[in-house]
């Protein structure tokens, strides 16, 4: 912990200050958008055009390029939300609280995409839109957890109190994350086992794996973009009476 070099520490200290965060992310945004577009274009070109059809599933498997990265993001964002919530809870850092609550709608969106695309993939392959399989059910519970976080935050007027409540709910819900991940191993039901995140070699050909990883990267950059957008409006609203927001308003006027 004390081995972190000083400039890194200073960077995080500055980032935790709302006006600095706002100004820095404003400059960062165009770069992130360019990186996102390049990754997505490469991933989609590789996945939809270059990669061959699956020998068993034909072209229907191409849903994988959004289904699997979305499912990964739904878990990853939940963990980020819980950790940011815990940091806010312990050190009362406002920006951590805002990162936690701003992550919730994005995480919920990815969970919804994972469920929806899974359903569209399940119909032609399994012959059903939905089954109460362990993986599907635990992922649905994740969606409810996200909605619980969003609802709870909206129900409490004092946003600092709301952030505390949300952090506790998010932390309790973390128990669902390993359940989702291991569900395909613990319960042998319809959903297939992991293809990429296995200890030995992934059971997927390189021509399919590379676009999949590109899409996963693209979705991570997307999360950063969407998160920054949400954090910025939340910061403005929470700090509307502070001087830096008033200055921003004057800047916009010109």
């Amino acid at each position: 912990m004390f081995l972190v070099p000083d400039p890194v520490v200073r960077f995080f200290h500055r980032m935790a200050s709302p006006p600095h965060f706002y100004a820095f992310t404003e400059r960062l945004m165009p770069w992130l958008v360019v990186i996102f577009l390049l990754l997505t274009a490469a991933g989609l070109y590789g996945g939809l055009y270059l990669a061959p059809a699956d020998y068993q599933q034909g072209d229907s498997y191409r849903i994988i390029y959004i289904h699997v990265p979305s499912a990964w993001m739904s878990l990853f964002i939940y963990v980020v939300m819980a950790i940011a919530g815990a940091i806010g809870l312990v050190w009362r850092i406002k920006l951590a609280e805002i990162v936690a609550i701003s992550s919730a709608p994005i995480g919920a969106s990815f969970t919804f995409i994972a469920l929806f695309t899974g359903s569209l993939w399940g119909k032609p392959m399994w012959g059903t839109w939905w089954v109460w399989d362990a993986r599907l059910t635990s992922e649905l519970i994740l969606l409810f957890l996200y909605m619980g976080v969003i609802g709870l935050y909206g129900a409490i007027d004092d946003k600092r109190v709301a952030s505390k409540a949300v952090a506790i709910l998010a932390l309790v819900g973390v128990v669902n994350i390993p359940i989702i991940h291991y569900s395909v191993e613990w319960w042998n039901t319809l959903h297939q086992g992991p293809t990429v995140t296995k200890m030995d070699k992934p059971s997927i050909h390189v021509s399919m794996l590379i676009p999949l990883l590109l899409m996963a990267l693209s979705f991570n950059v997307y999360y950063l973009i969407a998160l920054i957008q949400r954090v910025r409006i939340e910061l403005l609203q929470r700090e509307r009476s502070s001087q830096w927001v008033k200055n921003k308003v004057l800047e916009v006027k010109q």
């Binding site: 939809l48 055009y49 059809a53 034909g58 072209d59 229907s60 191409r62 849903i63 959004i66 289904h67 979305s70 709608p105 994005i106 969106s109 919804f112 995409i113 929806f116 695309t117 569209l120 993939w121 119909k123 032609p124 997307y222 973009i225 969407a226 957008q229 949400r230 910025r232 409006i233 403005l236 609203q237 509307r240 927001v245 921003k248 308003v249 916009v252 006027k253």
Partner: protein
């Protein structure tokens, strides 16, 4: 591969393209909503100033 073949998706077009379409809509909405909110915030703040 012809354009038609590409869009046909080996007969799975009805499953593949709605998946991609919905993803696009949801991901776009997550950007548009906060950007609109920010515009509204500044519009409101400026109105108060006058």
């Amino acid at each position: 591969m012809s354009m038609q073949e590409f869009f046909h998706m080996g007969g799975y077009a009805l499953y593949v393209w709605p998946s991609y379409g919905l993803t696009l809509i949801v991901l776009l909405a997550n950007i548009i909503i906060p950007v609109m909110q920010r515009k509204q915030f500044f519009a409101k703040a400026l109105k108060k100033k006058r």
